[in-house]
Symmetry: D2
Subunit: 407 residues, 4 copies
């Protein structure tokens, strides 16, 4: 059987799978599951084309890895066959731990567990099934392997994850201005002192990459309609958990009910393999189907939120640089209690306020480093004429949400 399959990708044209094991991993139910988890959750409520999945993104990032390895090798960077295969596996698997609605429900469906932790658990289980063939990939993924630049290809400020998702997200949303020159940036990659660097002539491409990323954050990832839709998703899930734990019956597929009934923590996953099995069943459809059924539930909060999500009659959202006043907030809460005949606690599902941080383009951890002609390596913050420094401060936005009926 020909396992060097070609996959059509509207973003890159044709993608060729480079190794048999990549094909076999893609065939595995754990990976097939990603076909049913959209990359951008409810973003399609604003950008109707944004339906692409983690499945396609992982394959795209794998495609870019093949290119990056080629470029680095052509510049004399030593990457052995074994390392090349391992780092390719690592990028393919980097998002395998994502649950339904990706980031929106992260930390909620599975309490306080980052998807990367789950990715590692999945990779370890697969490593058993594949008889140790993922060991080096796991080492690279965790950052434990001596050639650190391989880890940086998988996870850093300029990893192939980002180079794929920014391009893919702008492609499918139709926000053409977010398009980045992934191909060009990859051609500029090099390695110095065990770290990834970008050759000097790529500096303007990197500036553009940073600005494009910034644009995508404000125009797509933190678009206020997307934001309110995804918070509502969180709220409806919280309410469902609350009801279930009070013994009230709530429609859900069994493996979804499993996570409604009890909070599981990372240690639980480690101690009991079957929890990951349950998690591996979950996809966007389970959540959305349940919410559809919840529209008819007798609990006012559950049904109200569900109807609003399904029919895209979202809560109003107001954004501000300053915190909203408690007075106004309490008025709105009171009004909601009256209109919906609900308690203050219940009203907190419909009228709420909080803040978000966008430190999306900050420069924590790994930096983007520029390799000058004279061999000097310099942080992009200093190498660029642009005062990118101003971008490193996290931006805080306060929001307040409420049904338009309460105003």
């Amino acid at each position: 059987m020909n396992k060097k399959k070609i996959i059509n990708d509207p973003v890159y044209g044709f993608v060729t799978l480079p190794y048999e094991i990549i094909f076999d991993l893609i065939e595995h139910p754990y990976f097939q599951r990603l076909r049913h988890i959209q990359q951008l959750g409810l973003t399609s409520y604003v950008y109707p084309g944004a339906l692409h999945t983690r499945f396609h993104h992982a394959i795209g990032a794998t495609h870019l890895m093949t290119q990056a390895i080629k470029v680095l090798r052509s510049k004399g960077v030593v990457i052995t066959k074994k390392e090349a295969k391992a780092v390719t596996i690592a990028i393919l698997m980097h998002d395998i731990g994502h649950g339904p609605f990706s980031h929106a429900l992260e930390y909620s469906l599975v309490a306080n567990v980052h998807h990367e932790e789950l990715s590692i658990l999945f990779m370890e289980q697969l490593n058993e099934q594949f008889k140790g063939k993922l060991s080096l990939a796991i080492e690279i993924f965790k950052g434990d392997y001596e050639k650190h630049f391989l880890h940086e290809l998988v996870s850093s400020q300029l990893d192939l994850d980002r180079l794929d998702y920014l391009k893919r997200d702008s492609f499918f949303t139709g926000v053409q201005e977010g398009v980045i020159g992934s191909e060009r940036i990859i051609k500029m990659l090099n390695e110095r002192e065990n770290h990834l660097v970008v050759e000097h002539k790529g500096i303007y491409s990197i500036e553009k990459f940073i600005i494009a990323r910034r644009l995508m954050y404000w125009q797509v990832y933190l678009h206020k309609t997307v934001l309110v839709a995804e918070i509502m998703l969180l709220k409806v899930l919280e309410r469902a958990k609350e009801l279930v734990r009070q013994g009230i019956d709530v429609f859900a597929p069994p493996y979804f009910r499993f996570f409604l009934e009890k909070d599981y923590h990372l240690d639980d996953f480690k101690n009991n393999e079957s929890i990951l099995q349950q998690f591996a069943q979950l996809g966007d459809a389970d959540i959305f189907t349940s919410i559809k059924v919840w529209q008819q539930h007798e609990d006012t909060v559950l049904s109200e939120l569900s109807k609003r999500i399904v029919n895209r009659k979202l809560l109003k959202i107001r954004l501000s640089n300053r915190a909203f006043s408690n007075k106004r907030f309490e008025e709105l809460t009171q009004k909601a209690m009256q209109i919906y005949q609900i308690s203050e606690h219940e009203a907190s599902y419909l009228v709420f306020k909080d803040k978000i941080y966008n430190s999306a383009y900050t420069y924590e951890g790994t930096q983007i480093n520029i390799l000058h002609k004279n061999g000097k390596v310099q942080n992009i913050l200093n190498a660029s004429d642009l005062n990118l420094d101003s971008l490193t401060k996290p931006v805080v936005k306060h929001y307040m949400c409420y049904p338009k009926e309460v105003v």
Copy 2:
């Protein structure tokens, strides 16, 4: 509120909604429902980018209608404001009657009812809610309005439905060769004796349109992996119905269960409005979530088919120009009965054969007519040097499916 909203569309860039009523119709839950029905069902199992929905397609076709009206008017064809609005509504609504997985489950979920019949029912209900504002749109949609060319913009061999879906499907599958010059074809449209015609210099574009359509049929719509996946979807649904009607419990959201329990016919829909209400609840997620749960069902056939669909371990499919021999077929059936310990009837869900007709590019009904410089109107079949006649014969393909384990 600004109802002339702009929508991002990766296919056309920006789409502007031309009328307030278009905005209001899109906001209606009946239309929002189309966000959750993919245009191409399980085609994404072969082309992972093909996740676009009926929602986006309907908006795209509406965009093309705006262009077509402009072009026709610029050539002196009279289209009143009222007619323009009506024909735009008609194209927006043309697919509103589609159920989950579009064509795959058509005629099955709702016995023998074509989606256009349901579209009319939806439009009539909406017409009541919108106080008669859809009356002319319905007349045009049904082909009853005196200006017949308006109907042809909505439904004919060269309607804006096709001009959008061929372009959109090739865009999202990444099958670039299917891309058609919708924009150019629209610029060539004209009207003669109440029928749409294409001006002579568009003849090569039309040839290319026909060839691109043919390519899309064989490469996408009838791709054998897509075919087997969608037939399996039909089979699992049939089995679920059978079990439910035997009184066996099967997981399903209530409005889906409604259609599992009993077959409804067009007359039922007409006599009982609530049936359409139930239907309006259905989306792809309901079917897929149910199938996921069915993987654990005690019925061998139901669980076997479900596991195979969810994990993309599809049945083998063989295609042939000639019918498959009964002998071979019976052997495979016997083998399946043994392996799975099932009856002959049950085996028929896993080993089956049939045929499909692809008369997709035949020329029934309305023709594509070419307007020559001298004013003569001629069928493209005669106007083209290409012997397109050969394409008008339906192609029959026989298929046989079975689990690879039985060979």
Copy 3:
């Protein structure tokens, strides 16, 4: 010095030069000359973007050759390193013999000599300079090398020349419908019995390639405005030759004057190397600059044609499937003689008729062969359901041109 240079190409993104000798050949003045010869002559008078040159086309075809070699090798076809380099040189050089305005002035500036003959002469001269490194390339180019499929990559119904120029021409004209799936077709190439074949699943791509080519012929290459502009170019050149040979002074750069003064035949080129040196000086600019100056020439015919070409006030052209009547033609000629006060012979430069053959999509010489799954090889004419046979008959079009003032 890094000779594996990367070249930006709007059509393919980045093109990497595969061998040092490719870089060195591109640097040679003979090849640099192609920067100044447009691919499509005066086609930019209709499609203003169509300014791309033979230089870019040759590099594009070289890029496709790299891909084709990779594909064929991956299917087990043996192509040695030496052969790979040679066939790449052959495609780079395939158009080196083109003179100014490419096809328009072929057979005219250099009497009866096909550009491929001149390409061979150029390659032979370069072979001397490069000390025999082009020998195998020349053998392949001429079709003398034992592995005939290598020649077919350079020159056949489906060579990389065509796969590049169709894509490039449609790209720069903006005739998007002419776009072909070069990348996909190349992925389908294979070799059988020393001939190139296309694997069965590529059949629809080939059909589309043929239809796209047909569309490009009628919409671009034989567009009637392009046709008349290029015939006028021929006529003005003929007139200039006539005048020069009568001893009348006519502005021209010396190496252009060289070809105005005397007709050279293939044998002359072979016997006297300096003729090729003169030819190697010529570019589009020389002809166009001369025509600009000729606008002020005292010869009515020369100045009239020149003004019309420079200012794009072209002669009227009528096309017909039947020959134009002599009566009408003679009337127009008489009228021109009166208006311009010129002889009948002189009038023949302004009023003329003739015919063109478009056998562009005929199937002479090498065929496109389809490789079926069962190993059978079949001509596309038989393999396709489309009756492509009808396309093999050359189409004859009669034309008649005249100044609009004479009507």
Copy 4:
């Protein structure tokens, strides 16, 4: 005759000419001339696709003007029919004064005259021929018309000239990262207090526009190979002038010789209409053809520079942030004098140094202003979180050029 012609444009698809007078102006020889002046001069020596002309650019900018007028009107900005036509004429004509090789030879072929001054002269001559129909266009172009925002559409930091050329230049060079969202920026335009403003949600698009412009400057417009090629063009022209004015014969078409013989200033053009007539004859081809012939000239400097330009054997160029030392410069000069047996003055054509300023993204004159939701208008420098201020300082680069033989 249908003057609302459609023009194919690879950048925008189809461009429709909005007024008959636009068609008539395009037909005029003055405008047809722009077909033969490339937008980016010798940039094609680095980016072989960059062959697009001022003709195509002017039509593209006209296309964007049609869009901008539509957008502004839809927001309640009053633009009368007459004004719309006039501002469209103004943008069509904005570059009509460009001479051969555009910016490279500006100030040189015609001493100290900016192309906009010549554009005005051309427009005034055309205004006579078109009986005053260009009067308002000229007023707008000059900035004299009361509605100043109309002038800003034609000439400002965010005019349609830039929105077209940045997009077009990045398209044809293949530098995809320079692509800007012209369509989106135009949708964000508005007018406040007689000035163009950009609505607040367009702020990220403007940032990206500025960064993309910056990238294009360093990667394309000031690419060092382009730079040296264009300076060499200047030098060869200077030398030719020098020789001609010493009475030495130099090949040139008569209207080119006209400008070699004597320097004309703006006042000369104003006092003597025939000078503009001569200028109107000039195109890139005249210069390039002459340089080709100059390769054989007996003057060493003229022939050396000419050969190097024609065969793309350019001088070496070194760039630096600091001035080059005189010592090194004099050594190189001495060496050149020896090798080529030329005087010090003559050597100055082959070995020279100077500096360039890139104040390309500075914010002189009109600013880009952002319109906030609360109605406040603010300079982008203050409105953006990015410290764009750093970009307003002109960058100075020193360069030194010499033949590689002298090192």
